[in-house]
C-alpha cells in the first residue's frame, strides 16, 4: 500500500477545498479593496442585485451566514450607500434589501475584477477543465442549498455551452 495508492496525502477533499478557497479569498480580497467585509460583503451585494431572495433572513440562509451577522453586514453596506433597507409593506416585520444606484454600479465594476481573480485562482487549469470544475461545483452547491435549478442555477447550462 504505497503513498499514492489509497485515500492519503493530498487526495483529501477538505484540504483541496481549503487551499482553493484561500487562494480565492486572497485574490478576490485584493480586488475588492475597501468594500465593507470583503468577499462576504461582495456576496451579499451580488445576491441582493441578482438574486430574488431579499429579506435579511433569506439572504443569510442563501449565503450560510448567521442572521445576527447579516445585521452587521447590511449595516455597513447601508453606511457605504450600496444597499438600503425598506420595510416590506406586506409584512412589516421584514426588511427588503435593495441595491442603491451606486451599489449596482459598484457591483458591476467589482464583478469584472472578481471574475478575473477567480480565473487566477484556477489558473493552473486549462479553460475547458476550468469550466467543468465550475459546473460541477455549482451543481453540488446548488444541490446542497436546495436552490431551484431552474432560475439562478440555469447558469450551469451556460457553463456547459461556454465549454463547448
Amino acid at each position: 500500500m504505497s503513498a499514492a495508492a489509497g485515500s492519503v496525502g493530498h487526495d483529501e477533499l477538505g484540504w483541496c477545498l481549503g487551499v482553493v478557497l484561500r487562494a480565492y479569498t486572497d485574490e478576490v480580497g485584493a480586488v475588492l479593496g475597501d468594500l465593507p467585509h470583503g468577499h462576504r460583503g461582495f456576496q451579499v451585494l451580488a445576491t441582493v442585485v441578482h438574486g430574488d431572495q431579499r429579506s435579511q433572513l433569506a439572504l443569510a440562509g442563501m449565503l450560510g451566514i448567521d442572521r445576527t451577522v447579516m445585521t452587521y453586514l447590511i449595516d455597513d453596506l447601508v453606511t457605504a450607500d450600496l444597499v438600503a433597507r425598506q420595510v416590506d409593506p406586506a409584512d412589516r416585520r421584514q426588511r427588503r434589501i435593495v441595491a442603491t444606484g451606486r451599489g449596482t454600479a459598484v457591483l458591476a465594476e467589482l464583478e469584472r475584477g472578481v471574475r478575473k481573480a477567480e480565473d487566477v485562482a484556477l489558473g493552473s487549469l486549462d479553460p475547458q477543465d476550468r469550466a467543468v470544475l465550475r459546473r460541477l461545483l455549482t451543481s453540488v452547491a446548488c444541490s446542497l442549498r436546495q436552490v431551484a435549478p431552474a432560475d439562478p442555477c440555469a447558469v450551469v447550462e451556460d457553463a456547459l455551452t461556454a465549454t463547448a
Copy 2:
C-alpha cells in the same frame, strides 16, 4: 440581460466553495467526534502519517495554518497521545512530528469515516462526476501549494483510473 445570462447569482466560485466546504466540515465533524480541533486536527494527523513534511513549519505551510496556531494544534494532539515531538538531531531548532502507534490506528479508522462523509457532501453527483471533481480540485490545490505532483499528488492518476 437575464439572471441566467452573465456572471451572476450562484455562478460564483466563492459561494460554491463556501457551501461545499461547509457541508464537508459539517459531515466530517460528526465523524471525527472528540478528535482535538476537528477537521484541522485530522488534516495535521493525516499529513504527519502520510506526508513527508514533518517539521511544524512545513506542516503549517502545507495546510495553510499559521505557525503559531500549529503549536496549539500539536500541543493537543500530543496530549491526546496521537503524535509526539522529537528534536531533529540534524537541526536542533526543529521538532519532527511523528505519529504514535495509537495515532496511526486512530487515523486509519477515521479516514474510512471521512471518506464516506466526503461522498455524502458530494452526494448529488454521480460517481463519475464526483471523481472528475476530485481530480480537478486536487490538481488546482496541488498546483497552488506547489506540491510536487510526483509523490502525493500521483493520487490524481488514481482518480482517473477510478473514473474509467
